[in-house]
């Protein structure tokens, strides 16, 4: 079975300077994310999983090592090219939703399209489609503060999807939700994965990780072990 690689992480090291002390959040991590797979990166807090996610999402740069997205090393990318990459190839879903509080739901979903230069009319249509894909169709003119946590996360997922990115990076997507809503959100990710989206879940929760086909366990900035096969069958 030949699979295409969505992201290749090679020997990634990330060192932070906290005053005079240097802390290595990642100490040399290598793995590949296949196109169309659902992958979980699991670890306790301080394991380096958030740092890894930021680096994979091109929000941060590795101290050494490299990241290749769709086969291209992002190190050579300019600031502006990285922004384009985040815009078109990567969709982020955050634990705290990170919706812009003063924009309504529709406008929030339109933001990535705006930066891609999509016309007003087309933006509206694409945003509505993305919202419909996550099961939201009414109340699109409401502000994020006027809807429930589960709905907010759906809006965030719609926003991540709207530019049809190669990869969706989800950081503790159910962390701020009750278990019932969390399950609904995870089912949504599963559906999206079935439709062909590559999904990377970053979580400390075994339950969430169980949805993935592969689990990378991270501990103290290193890959501890990789669980493979037979997963992704949670109903």
């Amino acid at each position: 079975m030949s699979t295409q690689t969505a992201i290749e992480v090679r020997d990634v090291v990330r060192v932070y300077k906290l005053g005079r002390v240097e802390v290595a959040a990642l100490k040399g991590v290598s793995f590949k994310v296949h196109k169309g797979e659902m992958l979980a990166i699991m670890g306790s807090s301080g394991s380096g999983k958030s740092t890894l996610m930021h680096i994979m999402g091109c929000l941060d740069e590795p101290t050494s090592g490299s990241i290749a997205i769709d086969g291209r090393d992002v190190k050579q990318f300019s600031d502006s090219a990285l922004a384009e990459l985040r815009n078109t190839k990567i969709g982020f879903v955050f634990q705290s939703f990170n919706l812009l509080p003063r924009l309504n739901i529709l406008q929030n979903v339109e933001v990535p399209l705006q930066y891609r230069g999509v016309s007003r009319k087309a933006r509206r249509k694409l945003a509505e489609e993305a919202l419909a894909a996550v099961g939201l169709s009414g109340r699109l003119k409401h502000l994020p503060s006027e809807i429930s946590g589960g709905e907010r996360q759906r809006v965030a997922i719609a926003r991540a999807l709207v530019n049809n990115p190669t990869i969706i990076l989800a950081d503790e997507p159910t962390g701020n939700l009750d278990s019932k809503t969390g399950t609904a959100i995870m089912d949504l990710f599963k559906d999206l994965n079935k439709k062909g989206h590559t999904i990377i879940l970053v979580t400390h929760s075994r339950e969430v990780a169980e949805y993935a086909q592969r689990i990378i366990h991270l501990k103290d900035g290193l890959i501890e072990r990789v669980e493979e096969g037979g997963l992704g069958v949670v109903n």
Partner: protein
């Protein structure tokens, strides 16, 4: 295209914090309004000064005797004493044919007595027939002083319209006689004419004036025979330099030096005054500009607060694909919108202030297009200058740090 989008974002975020937006706009409004009001004041003063100069008439040159310190022990008449007499008018006209006429400038005060016992203070002008042409001051009725009046030192008078009205009301003044005290002399004058209203009211002209033959004054010892100032007029404005040179040449040759007279054209006075007035205008505008500077600093302050407050928003926008230029323009446009809006409101406020001041003090404030253009350019420049740093700060934020910002 994305610039228009960025403008929308700016409007939206400014709308979210109305009080803050209002206060930072207010700083610019006050700054621009004071620049506009100050420039209007400057332009108003300039216009007033220039108008009073040009009321003397155009193409006018004034020739004045310049008194030098008399050398000790020499009280005999100098060349200048011999030259600066009534004859000089005719001689100058002969020497410089471009001159329409040359009139002596002789003025003194007089008290006129009426039969009713009332009296009237007035200026007495020792005139020659050329006066009407040189000062472009036409006659209304009767006649002006003529050559015969001059030759015979006649005691005749031409009244200004105001004087005629005050003295005689609606009765015809021609042929009437007036008793006048000029200096220490009491004379009886016969009215021969009345001047029309002078087209421009000038501060240099008292409205109560009477004109008498200059010889009537000099021959009776009322005015000195030595005349220290002449006013002359030439045909066309292109001749100014040539006429000035000719006058200088003639007087230098007659007096033997150029130290004892001065020749000043209306144009050169006008230019000098214009320069002075323009300096004053810019100085006043500069004072107004200090307010604008303070307003600009206010905008910068608000923008810096806004960037800090919205660090997380910046992080989110960057994670969604915003480039540096997008974030930069978003914040820069906010600063620009603030300052340009302040500029536009400030122009209105400045105009209102000018109109109000015009009513309160006697100087007219002139609201000029120039001031408006300068105000708009300045307020935009202020927005740009004070907006760039905060916008740059926002654009340079590291996405991860911005996202983590609480």
């Amino acid at each position: 295209m994305w610039l228009i989008e960025a403008l929308f974002i700016s409007f939206k975020s400014l709308g979210e914090n109305k009080l803050r937006t209002f206060l930072s706009v207010l700083g610019i409004v006050i700054g621009i309004a004071s620049v506009i009001a100050m420039m209007s004041l400057g332009d108003g003063v300039t216009e007033q000064v220039l108008r009073s100069i040009s009321s003397l008439g155009s193409n006018v040159i004034t020739i004045s005797r310049r008194y030098t310190v008399a050398r000790r022990g020499r009280s005999s008449a100098t060349a200048a004493d011999r030259v600066f007499t009534l004859d000089l008018a005719a001689r100058l006209k002969e020497a410089v044919p471009e001159l329409i006429d040359v009139v002596p400038s002789v003025e003194t005060n007089a008290t006129l007595y009426l039969d009713t016992g009332d009296s009237l203070q007035t200026r007495v002008i020792g005139a020659t027939p050329g006066y009407v042409d040189v000062y472009e001051y036409p006659l209304l009725v009767g006649r002006f002083i003529d050559e015969d009046d001059l030759a015979e030192n006649r005691l005749v008078a031409v009244l200004s319209l105001e004087t005629a009205t005050e003295l005689f009301g609606l009765t015809n003044p021609i042929g009437q006689s007036i008793r006048a005290n000029i200096g220490n002399h009491s004379v009886k004058l016969t009215v021969v004419g009345v001047m029309s209203k002078k087209p421009q009211t000038a501060i240099t002209f008292a409205s109560n004036q009477i004109f008498v033959p200059v010889t009537a004054l000099t021959s009776r010892g009322i005015a000195s025979k030595s005349i220290s100032s002449f006013v002359t007029k030439y045909e066309s404005s292109d001749e100014e330099q040539h006429v000035m040179a000719a006058l200088n040449h003639y007087l230098t040759s007659r007096l033997g030096s150029s130290n004892e007279f001065s020749v000043v054209s209306q144009e050169s006075i006008r230019e000098t005054m214009n320069e002075v007035a323009s300096t004053i205008t810019w100085f006043l505008a500069g004072i107004g500009g200090i307010g604008l500077l303070v307003g600009g600093i206010g905008i910068m302050n608000i923008m810096l607060v806004s960037v800090t407050e919205r660090t997380r928003e910046i992080g989110i926008r960057k994670s969604l694909g915003a480039k540096k230029k997008h974030i930069f323009m978003q914040f820069l446009l906010e600063a620009l919108v603030l300052s340009v809006a302040g500029g536009i409101i400030g122009i209105g406020a400045g105009k209102l202030l000018g109109d109000l001041m015009t009513k309160i003090i006697q100087i007219k404030f002139i609201f000029s297009v120039r001031a408006t253009v300068i105000a708009i350019l300045f307020s935009s420049a202020v927005g740009l200058f004070f907006g760039v740093y905060p916008a740059q700060k926002a654009a340079r934020l590291n996405p991860v740090d911005a996202l983590r910002y609480e």
